[in-house]
Structure formats: structure tokens, C-alpha cells
């Protein structure tokens, strides 16, 4: 008998209610108590939470250029494993995604994988060099329909370039996602500047270098009435500035990464570059401010900044190592640990911060939908009462640079459905997404 969809039984909805959910023909067919369907594959989800498929607005896939660290396919598999049905490919590839050709290539590779939506993010400036605007219109009008533009990894530091970019994207209903880092305050910076960097003799990356750009860009976006998104906010001061802006009705959104919700700069004492990331891990005070801001909505979303790196770029001295850490497969567990288990957020807020809101910011219309009849079946299931131990040698990503190796984390992602097709069943990837 051919499988006619999936019937998820007795699952807890984001709002707390217990229902059955039937997926057929790629959509949510019905949602009620006590659904029966003899032709569907039954999934017993008792004790589990069903959420709309997770949407990541900040992913590094390394293709084209560094396929030894990650490919669109391997990153997509990593995403499906973590419960994602959409990810956003940052443009700092080689060549840079600053033209229609590269974003269409990445978009097509995503479609070929068929595991989730891969939405390319376009570079703001040519070659990420911060000087001349990239082909924003060509990327927006391409089959990839780019709406999010970012020079991530670099900051659009010249205020005039930033102003013009914010203005120009209004024609395409776009958004600039800014990596806020004042470059002259962070030349050679290695870690958060503070007590720990002073002891370790590692060059500091001061909070003010992030906050100064956040403040400047908020004033700019208000002036030109465009749309600004702040990537990976890491400081308590940055949160305060964004809170001020939102209170004044300025059109700004912001993200926080899972690692900045949990880890601090104390980990640098090991000199193990697996903890080297940009922006850097900050202090416990910052971590608590970020959690509070995510709960109260000052920070809109969680985004992974999934940044795969080969072994040799991390198995070296700290100052020689690359910045970045894996994120897709651990993101929801970290959010459960820091936000749900600590009673700061409920699952409805998790659905908003990791699916609905990022899809809205990115303009991903078939993603981040509430679980409702007729919606595309982008759905995931987590068992929040199970736990697992992170093992870097067992991650799905091509790279191994998870900062959570050995951590026991709550929440096991059991199922992911992309447009009604199962990509993860009982924690196992069931569709390899084709060959490399």
C-alpha cells in the first residue's frame, strides 16, 4: 500500500493543546482531536511538541568555494536534522554571492537537495568590500528572489554606503542584515574585551564596536525609512539600543544566536579555538540580557550563524584559527535549555522566534506559517523530555566545530516534514537529498 501522508497523533501544539495532525498532498489536511486515517503513516507524538518547521535567517553553507567544509546539500541535511525547513545562505562564499549567477546557483542546489528551502542572501557590496553596491536588483529579480542583503563577516562600515543600501533596497521590499562591527576598533581582535582577555593576552573585541554600529544604523534607517535587521546581537548595551529604537517605532529587527544565549568568554581560558566566534562570546551579564530580550521580543528571532570550518582551521593556535561554530543541529535544544526549561518562554514563543518571525523578516511566504489547515506542511516535532549528548563525530554537517561537544542537552528533534515530505523520522534522516 502506498503511503498517503502522515498522521501525527496526540501531539502538543505550540499553544499547549493536544491534537492530531494529518499531512497529505504536501499540506496540513486536518487538525483535530481523534483523527483516523487508515492510509497514513501513524506517528505517535505523545509527550512531543509540534512546531512549524524552523527557519534560519543566518547560515553559512560554504558552497561555492569551500566544499570541504560544507555544501548546500550537507548543510541542508544538517538543517533537516535540527528541525529546519528553511535556511538562508550567507553570501561570503568564493566567489561572493553578489550577483544573480551565484545566488541562482545556490538556490538551484537547494532545490536539488529537496530537503528544505535554501534562500540565498545577497551581498550588499561588491566582493563584500564595503565600497560599491552589488547587483541588488538583479539578485532580487532572479529566480532566487533575494530579499535579504548582508555583507556578513564584514560590516557595511561606511555610513554613506549603508545609507544608500538602505535606500536602494526599498524598491525591492528588501532588508539589510548588518553584521555590526566597527572595523577600526576590532583590528586583529580575538575575543571579548574584558577581564578574561586581559588575563589571556588575547586582543579584545570591545562591546562598543558592536553597539556603535547598531546605534548608527538605527539612526540611519529611521532617517531613510527603510528596513534594518541586526545580525547576532551579543551585548547588553546593544539590546538597550534596540529596545530604545523599537519604543520609538523604528523599523528594526534583531537576532541572537543559540551560542550567545548559553556560552561566555570564560570558555576562552582553554585557548581551544572551537570557542572562537565572531562576534565573540561575551559575559554572563550579556547572556542574561540577551535571554530577557528574546523573551520580551526586543530581539525578534534566533538565528544560528551556523559556520562550518574544516578541522585544520580549528586545530591550531587560537589567533590562527577561523571564527565560527556549528549551530543547526543544536539550535532548538539550546533554546529549550536556555529559554523554555528556564520558564522564560513557552513553545508558542519558540514557534514565533524560530519560525514565524524569521520567515516574516525574510519574506518566506510558505514558511513560518501557523499550524493551520491548508498551510504547506512545513512541520517539525521535538521530544522535550528526552535528552541527548552532543558528539562532534556524529554531527551531520561536514564539519566538526561544535562548541557543545560532550554537552547533555534537553530536547530531541524526532521528525521534520518539508512541504509534506518527511526529511527526518525518529531522529534519522530518511532522504539523503541525492548525491554530493
Amino acid at each position: 500500500m502506498t503511503v498517503k501522508g502522515y498522521l501525527i497523533k496526540n501531539a502538543q501544539m505550540p499553544d499547549g493543546g493536544i491534537k492530531d495532525l494529518l499531512i497529505t498532498d504536501g499540506r496540513i489536511h486536518s487538525l483535530a482531536v481523534g483523527i483516523n486515517d487508515a492510509t497514513a503513516t501513524i506517528i505517535d507524538a505523545k509527550g512531543c511538541v509540534v512546531l512549524p518547521g524552523l527557519v534560519d535567517l543566518h547560515t553559512h553553507l560554504r558552497q561555492p568555494g569551500r566544499e570541504d567544509a560544507e555544501t548546500v546539500l550537507s548543510g541542508s541535511r544538517s538543517g533537516a536534522k535540527g528541525g529546519f525547513t528553511a535556511i538562508s545562505a550567507m553570501p561570503n562564499t568564493s566567489p561572493v554571492a553578489d550577483n544573480a549567477g551565484v545566488v541562482e546557483q545556490v538556490f538551484r542546489l537547494g532545490q536539488q537537495s529537496g530537503l528544505l528551502d535554501v534562500f540565498p542572501i545577497g551581498a550588499v557590496t561588491q566582493g563584500l568590500e564595503g565600497a560599491a553596491l552589488s547587483e541588488i536588483g538583479a539578485m532580487a529579480d532572479s529566480i532566487a528572489q533575494v530579499r535579504v542583503f548582508s555583507d556578513d563577516g564584514n560590516c557595511v562600515f561606511d555610513p554613506l554606503v549603508m545609507r544608500r543600501a538602505l535606500e536602494y533596497i526599498k524598491k525591492f521590499n528588501g532588508v539589510i542584515a548588518q553584521h555590526a562591527q566597527e572595523p577600526s576598533l576590532t583590528v586583529g581582535s580575538q575575543m571579548n574585551e574584558g577581564e578574561v582577555s586581559a588575563v589571556l593576552g588575547l586582543k579584545g573585541w570591545p562591546a562598543v564596536a558592536e553597539e556603535a554600529i547598531i546605534a548608527r544604523d538605527i539612526l540611519l534607517v529611521d532617517h531613510v525609512k527603510s528596513r534594518l535587521h541586526i545580525c547576532h546581537v551579543t551585548t547588553a548595551g546593544g539590546v538597550e539600543i534596540i529596545r530604545w529604537a523599537k519604543a520609538r517605532g523604528i523599523n528594526v529587527t534583531a537576532e541572537v544566536t543559540p551560542h550567545h544565549l548559553l556560552l561566555t568568554d570564560e570558555l576562552a581560558r582553554s585557548y581551544d579555538p572551537v570557542f572562537k566566534v565572531n562576534p565573540p562570546l561575551r559575559t554572563q551579564k550579556d547572556v542574561m540580557a540577551l535571554r530577557e530580550a528574546l523573551a520580551d521580543g526586543t530581539i525578534d528571532i534566533v538565528a544560528t550563524d551556523h559556520a562550518p570550518h574544516t578541522m585544520e582551521s580549528k586545530e591550531c593556535e587560537w589567533q590562527e584559527a577561523s571564527f565560527g561554530m556549528l549551530g543547526l543541529e543544536t539550535a532548538l535544544s539550546i533554546v529549550q535549555k536556555t529559554m523554555v526549561d528556564s520558564k522564560l518562554m513557552d513553545w508558542a514563543q519558540v514557534a514565533d522566534r524560530l519560525s514565524t518571525a524569521p520567515a516574516r523578516i525574510g519574506g518566506y511566504s510558505d514558511q513560518g506559517r501557523n499550524l493551520e489547515i491548508g498551510a504547506k506542511a512545513n512541520v517539525m516535532i521535538i521530544n522535550p523530555s528526552a535528552s541527548w549528548t552532543v558528539d562532534k563525530d556524529l554531527v551531520v554537517s561536514k564539519s566538526r566545530n561544535t562548541p557543545f561537544h560532550g554537552y547533555e542537552l534537553p530536547g530531541v528533534v524526532t521528525h521534520t516534514f518539508f512541504n509534506g515530505m518527511a526529511t527526518l523520522i525518529d531522529g534519522a534522516l530518511i532522504n539523503s537529498g541525492g548525491s554530493e
Partner: protein
């Protein structure tokens, strides 16, 4: 104790025991037979990824006086400077059967990376890493201070030390602050505000921007070297202005209290942080620091590799 990566690896008792061992070893070295058989058959590698002839020669002399075999792996022309990874270097040293690796490296934390890795099993001795620490220098400085100022006490209780200059980039300062504090001395840092790290507030030190105000109240003035590359980097307007505020010249020498001493880890910039007549004055113990360096490094190797301290009276 298996490695010496940071002064924070040491308890007070361990630090005092290294100094005591150094005292005994200095006595042996002054005698007719300069060599001890203690480390015969052991292999010590000097892995110098950054040039420092002074420190390398000091460790080499120390190892040889303890009869160890010494292999020098120096920066110029070595694999380290050709971009071979730290991991491959470590695997090579392991294959060569190194018992201890004395490492000087430009990257803060490189010795700890070696020690924590599974790449090799040897003891790791930090001979200066980036802007982090230089524990053997701090131990030889403490040894020198104890000899001159401690009046027979085993530690440095009550002794007042001023450390003057580029604290921000100084591994010597970081190790000295930790060790002086561990041994009961009090420390004043004197520097332009640009050359003190953000985050220094929790350090057990007093901070001053006024050298003249600090000089009369201390027993030891420890000058730090000003690196040439700091000159053009906005830390201070020019060398003359630096010298005027923070250089130890003959006028400031007159402000020093009667039995106080002048130290410098070398190499000195005569005329910049220290005037020639001060470096060569009777208060200067700078040359003695060098000779004490060998005894203290012998003691470090002795304690780490022979697994014991050398108590007074032992042969």
C-alpha cells in the same frame, strides 16, 4: 606538576620550592663541578617559533648543566616558520621522544594548546607566549628580588614592586603580577592609560599614571621594554614624551629609596625606557637577572622532570 604554562599553575609552596631549589643549584654551579647528572638520558627540545636568543641560551645552559640532551628547534629556517602546523610539529617532537618541550611562541596560549592536546606527552614549559605569560622570567625575577630584599624570608611578604611600561602587551608583566601577588608582595603598575588592558580592574594591583609619585615608596622598580611597533600606533605621541613620563632616568633614580633595586627583563632600549647611567648604576641588578635565569630554569627543569625539589643540604 607536569607543565609550567602559567604562574597560576603554581601554589605558593611550589613557587617557593622552585626558588629554594634554584638557590641550591646556584650553589652547585658556583662550585668546581658545574654539571649534575640528574637529567642524563632525558631529551629537552627548545621549540622557538619566535626569535629569542637570550631565553633559548638560558634554557639550553640550564638543561646542559643537568646533563640533559638538548635539541634546538629555532624559528629561522625551521618548519614552524614555514607554516607547518603546531599539531604536526608536536607529532614530530613526540616521535623524537622529547621528555620536555620548552616553547616560545608568538601566539598567546600556544603552550597550553600543546599541553592539552593528545598530540604529544612531553612536559611543556612556557618560555613566553604572545602577550600572555612568561613564567620562567617571573620566577627568576622573584628569585632576584628575594635575594636582595627579602632579608632571609622564604617569600616576598611586604615587598613593594612597581612595574612600569607597556603592561598591555607584556607577558613578563602578567606573570610577574601573578607571582608577586602569590608570594605576598604588593604591586603598583605605572603606565600610560593606553598601555593598560581593559579588564584590569580585578587585578590585585594599584594603578598609577604618575611615575614620580610611586618611585619613593617602592623597593623594586621593574622596567618593561617598549616594543618598536608600539611607537606609531597611537599608544603615545612619540618616544621623547614616553621617556619624559615613564622613562627611568638619573633624576628619577635619585627619588628611589635607599636599598631599592632596578630591574629589566631585557633587551633594553637604552635612552627610551631606561637611561644608560641607570642601567649601569649600582642599583641595577639587570646583569644578575641573566645569571639567575640559568639557576631558576635549572630548578624548573629539575622540579618538572626529576619530580622533586632539591632541599638545602641535599647533594
Amino acid at each position: 606538576m607536569r607543565h609550567l604554562l602559567s604562574i597560576s599553575d603554581l601554589s605558593k609552596a611550589e613557587a617557593v620550592s622552585i626558588l629554594d631549589t634554584a638557590t641550591e643549584l646556584a650553589r652547585v654551579s658556583d662550585g668546581a663541578v658545574k654539571k649534575l647528572p640528574t637529567l642524563r638520558g632525558r631529551t629537552i627540545v627548545n621549540l622557538f617559533a619566535e626569535d629569542s636568543t637570550r631565553t633559548r641560551i638560558s634554557f639550553e645552559a640550564a638543561a646542559k648543566r643537568l646533563s640533559a640532551d638538548v635539541i634546538n628547534f629555532s624559528a629561522k629556517g625551521s618548519s614552524v616558520s614555514k607554516g607547518e602546523s603546531l599539531k604536526d610539529t608536536a607529532l614530530t617532537l613526540q616521535a623524537m621522544g622529547a621528555d620536555a618541550v620548552v616553547i616560545r611562541h608568538g601566539a598567546s596560549g600556544a603552550p597550553q594548546r600543546l599541553a592539552d592536546s593528545e598530540w604529544m606527552l612531553a612536559s611543556v614549559i612556557n618560555a613566553g607566549d604572545g602577550t600572555h605569560e612568561h613564567p620562567s622570567q617571573a620566577l627568576l625575577d622573584a628569585f632576584t628580588i628575594r635575594k636582595h630584599c627579602a632579608k632571609g624570608a622564604p617569600d616576598l611578604a611586604g615587598i613593594r614592586v612597581a612595574i612600569v611600561g607597556d603592561v598591555l602587551h607584556s607577558r613578563v608583566a602578567r606573570s610577574n603580577i601573578l607571582l608577586l601577588n602569590l608570594l605576598g608582595a604588593s604591586v603598583s603598575l605605572v603606565a600610560p592609560p593606553t598601555l593598560l588592558p581593559v579588564g584590569i580592574e580585578k587585578w590585585p594591583v594599584d594603578i598609577s599614571y604618575d611615575f614620580d609619585a610611586v618611585i619613593p615608596s617602592v623597593d623594586v622598580v621593574m622596567m618593561l621594554r617598549v616594543q618598536q611597533e608600539r611607537m606609531s600606533n597611537l599608544f603615545f605621541p612619540n618616544a621623547r614624551e614616553y621617556s619624559r613620563y615613564f622613562g627611568l632616568n638619573s633624576d628619577r633614580l635619585k627619588l628611589m629609596s635607599p636599598h631599592s633595586i632596578v630591574m629589566h627583563p631585557g633587551p633594553m632600549n637604552r635612552g627610551l625606557e631606561i637611561a644608560a647611567e641607570v642601567a649601569d648604576s649600582a642599583r641595577s641588578v639587570i646583569v644578575e637577572q641573566v645569571s639567575n635565569g640559568v639557576s631558576v630554569r635549572m630548578a624548573i627543569l629539575y622540579v618538572l622532570l626529576a619530580g622533586q625539589s632539591l632541599e638545602a643540604g641535599e647533594k
